[in-house]
């Protein structure tokens, strides 16, 4: 942001940057929103091919109307046949109101609007720990557990990978470097796979850690004890995720840094006699920052979808095991709701990535402001 020909104050520079940055962010947000909408619509189409959602809504209407009429004291003395007639006519009205008698294309827009507004409807079989039936309430209850586990794991893997990769790229060819290269193919196995072995060794052969769950049963009293219990339960799933991606991450970052540190400008800096740390910080890391961030976000996205099975193996009460239980119950609103949430999470990840890009790379900002 240096401008040698026409010196301007810092405040003006920031204002100028912001004026470019905000339209860019808004545009990007709009684009992502459209993407989410299309993605969710595709999900609805997939889920509707069997007419499942329609059957479900008809059923839902019938039960709610039936409950309403039966619970209404005004109808208590009525003969059953007459009451059924009333239920029937109200169901027809409700079907008309929700346009269930209309073609699917028109209605799919309705579903889409509801899903986008996160109005995910009510679960058929499941309820949250506080007893709520709303899909969104159940999901919101599970979200923190997923965020805690996967956030910790991603950050740990990412930062240790970049850290070790930088050290290895300096000591390229050493035994540690070779060990990492040799171990990299083990990352072909997903985290849950390592989880099985970890559970076998640390929970059954030498029972030192819990095999699954998030806290001890019953949950310990007090914040500290509770936190310790959660930490203890997190060790194995964290280790599984760490081992499944650490070697490949170190390997690819090491290769990346090696390629980058053989660039001409780095050679130049070295020829100038700059200290190694400075070269690393200013000449290797800084230009490589955008790819680093990209891969960080891609890893986040990859781990979102990998969550289902890992949570299932470790019995972790997050979004993944929620989906798994929803499948078990054939609870369609729950499954679709979770997919919608996944789509939103991915979109948010992508959006944050774009914002970070814009902060890191001035070219993106300028382009974004113009378009």
């Amino acid at each position: 942001m240096k401008n040698t020909s026409r010196p301007i104050s810092k405040a003006t520079a920031i204002r100028q940057n912001l004026s470019r940055f905000i339209p860019f962010a808004l545009l990007r947000l709009l684009g992502l929103f459209i993407t989410v909408v299309i993605g969710v619509y595709l999900t609805i189409l997939i889920a509707n091919m069997g007419g499942k959602v329609d059957e479900l809504r008809l059923l839902q209407i019938r039960t709610t109307v039936g409950e309403q009429v039966r619970a209404d004291p005004a109808f208590f003395d009525m003969p059953v046949a007459e009451r059924d007639d009333i239920i029937e006519s109200r169901v027809t009205l409700e079907v008309k109101r929700r346009r269930l008698d209309q073609p699917f294309v028109a209605r799919s827009i309705d579903y889409l609007l509801a899903a986008v507004r996160l109005d995910l409807g009510r679960s058929e079989e499941m309820h949250s720990d506080s007893g709520a039936r709303e899909v969104s309430a159940i999901i919101l209850e599970r979200l923190p557990a997923t965020l805690l586990l996967f956030g910790t794991a991603n950050l740990a893997v990412f930062f240790s990978a970049v850290f070790f990769a930088l050290r290895l790229s300096r000591r390229y060819g050493s035994w540690m470097d070779r060990a990492v290269i040799a171990l990299a193919p083990t990352s072909a196995a997903p985290a849950w796979f390592f989880g099985i072995f970890l559970i076998l060794v640390f929970a059954f052969l030498t029972p030192v850690l819990p095999a699954g769950g998030m806290v001890h049963v019953p949950p310990p009293e007090g914040r500290l004890a509770w936190g310790l219990s959660v930490a203890q339960h997190m060790v194995l799933p964290l280790a599984a995720m760490f081992f499944s991606s650490i070697f490949i991450s170190i390997y690819s970052w090491r290769t990346f840094f090696l390629i980058h540190s053989s660039e001409d400008y780095v050679e130049m800096a070295r020829a100038k006699g700059l200290p190694g740390r400075l070269i690393e910080k200013r000449y290797v890391l800084r230009p490589a920052l955008s790819p680093i961030i990209t891969s960080f976000a891609l890893m986040l996205i990859g781990l979102w979808s990998g969550a289902i099975i890992l949570e299932q193996v470790f019995n972790w009460p997050g979004l993944g095991s929620l989906i798994f239980r929803a499948i078990g119950h054939r609870d369609t609103p729950m499954i679709i709701g979770s997919v919608v949430i996944f789509a939103y999470l991915l979109a948010i990840t992508v959006f944050l990535l774009d914002i970070l890009y814009a902060i890191l790379d001035p070219r993106v900002r300028i382009q974004g402001g113009r378009s």
Partner: protein, 446 residues
């Protein structure tokens, strides 16, 4: 071809590539061997379970675990009356038969179960059968008498009276040394020659009776058995061709379609390229695993449907961006211009000129992609969305998980499919990584 043989020669310098190739070759051989050893229909019928497995033990560990632990666990012994001598005494309207089944029991552990299967034929009335157990020390236990139907099973292990009398489960008490049969003592195996005497009264001149005594072992074969008595070898063996087929087909399908779309986008450019870019972004939002899970829950869990969906969802996958970056400079290459000059159409240029150019660079990616899909199939099966009929590794893992195999100490049940999965993954990944270093010019010097 020379460049190919040079690449092979260079690959030989990497021990990991050689090891990976060896692993893949072994798996391929096993994958060819599996359908020859157990034909497809037979494998499916067997894996469905049921009566065919009645003479197999429940949850028996593989026989080789004894070498590791130094134990001498019993194997399953099946004794048929067809091989035994019998004495007969006729009476009006029928006959009395006495059959003695002798067998030696030399294992240190107790059997896991004890059953007698009886088949009678051409009988005027249901025959009457009485069983007597003789131990090596000469003790005699009456196992009771009963009428038997055409195909009957006498479950000695479930004999309530007997287990009350012995103070232990019958398959333990009947094999224990008399002194160790007291309550509170640990039962010790009595080795030697046991006899099951079968006294039967048959009605009708032509009536026949055959019996099989099954002394179920605690170890079985090279793979062990599961909770439904199925020999895990069926699924472990058949899992190989299924995993390889799924991994290969999915990798080929996704790589080729993605590559084609990326090349077409680059070549035609304009709105088509923009559309492909936007579709890729939408596809990134669509979560693959939840959608697969949803399709599995709502429609069918057939492995081929899953394969189709995986390929469909990766058509606009993240690979497109990478391929696009590779293909963009190629579009300007002189040889493409030459092709245009002789009048080649867009489709021809994409198929014959652009895609072949990047293929060698993509081979390593392709090889490392295979284990991803192998594990994806296993993941779906572990979630309970495995193919309903096919025996696969993931389904073994799923069974093991639902039966709490680790908790119950049936480690072999989890370890065998897991090790096979890992070997498959490692084989392709090691080869792929080495290939990446050979084929990828930027990495060659590193």
């Amino acid at each position: 071809m020379t460049s190919f043989s040079r690449a092979v020669a260079e690959l030989k310098r990497y021990p990991s590539a050689v090891a990976g190739l060896l692993l893949i070759a072994l798996l391929l051989l096993a994958g060819i061997f599996a359908p020859l050893y157990i034909p497809y229909g037979e494998a499916l019928a067997k894996w469905r379970g049921g009566d065919a497995w009645r003479m197999y033990p429940v949850n028996a560990a593989p026989a080789w675990t004894d070498w590791l632990t130094g134990n001498n666990n019993p194997r399953t012994q099946i004794l048929s009356t067809r091989d035994a001598s019998r004495t007969q005494a006729h009476f009006a309207g029928g006959r009395q038969e006495h059959i003695a089944l002798h067998f030696d029991y030399e294992a240190d552990g107790f059997p896991s179960e004890l059953n007698v299967f009886l088949q009678t034929d051409r009988s005027a009335r249901a025959p009457f059968v009485r069983l007597t157990w003789l131990t090596p020390s000469g003790e005699r236990f009456l196992l009771g008498g009963q009428r038997v139907s055409a195909a009957d099973r006498i479950s000695i292990s479930q004999h309530q009276l007997l287990s009350q009398r012995l103070g232990q489960a019958p398959h333990v008490g009947l094999f224990a040394q008399p002194a160790s049969r007291k309550s509170g003592a640990t039962p010790v195996v009595q080795k030697g020659r046991y006899t099951l005497a079968i006294d039967a009264i048959l009605f009708g001149d032509e009536a026949t009776l055959e019996a099989d005594l099954v002394v179920y072992g605690r170890v079985h074969g090279i793979a062990g058995t599961d909770h439904q008595r199925r020999d895990l070898l069926v699924a472990l063996l058949w899992g190989i061709p299924i995993a390889l087929a799924f991994g290969l087909l999915a990798a080929v399908g996704t790589t080729l379609t993605t590559l084609f779309i990326a090349a077409a986008g680059v070549w035609y450019g304009g709105w088509r390229d923009a559309l492909i870019q936007r579709l890729t972004e939408i596809n990134m939002i669509l979560p693959l695993l939840p959608i697969l899970v949803m399709i599995g829950a709502l429609y069918s869990t057939s492995i081929w449907l899953m394969l189709g969906v995986v390929v469909l969802l990766s058509i606009f996958g993240g690979g497109i961006k990478m391929y696009r970056a590779m293909l963009l400079p190629i579009k300007q290459a002189p040889y493409i211009e030459a092709a245009r000059a002789y009048g080649a159409g867009g489709f021809r240029i994409v198929i014959r000129y652009m895609i072949p150019r990047v293929l060698p660079v993509l081979i390593p990616t392709f090889v490392t992609l295979i284990p991803t899909f192998v594990f994806l199939e296993a993941s779906l099966a572990v979630l309970g969305l495995g193919d309903p009929v096919l025996p696969t590794w993931g389904k073994i893992l799923n069974d093991a998980q639902t039966q709490s195999a680790l908790y119950n100490g049936y480690y072999y049940w989890v370890l065998a499919p897991a090790v096979l999965l890992m070997l498959t993954g490692l084989g392709f990944a090691m080869l792929g990584f080495a290939m990446d270093r050979v084929f990828n010019p930027r990495l060659r010097s590193l």
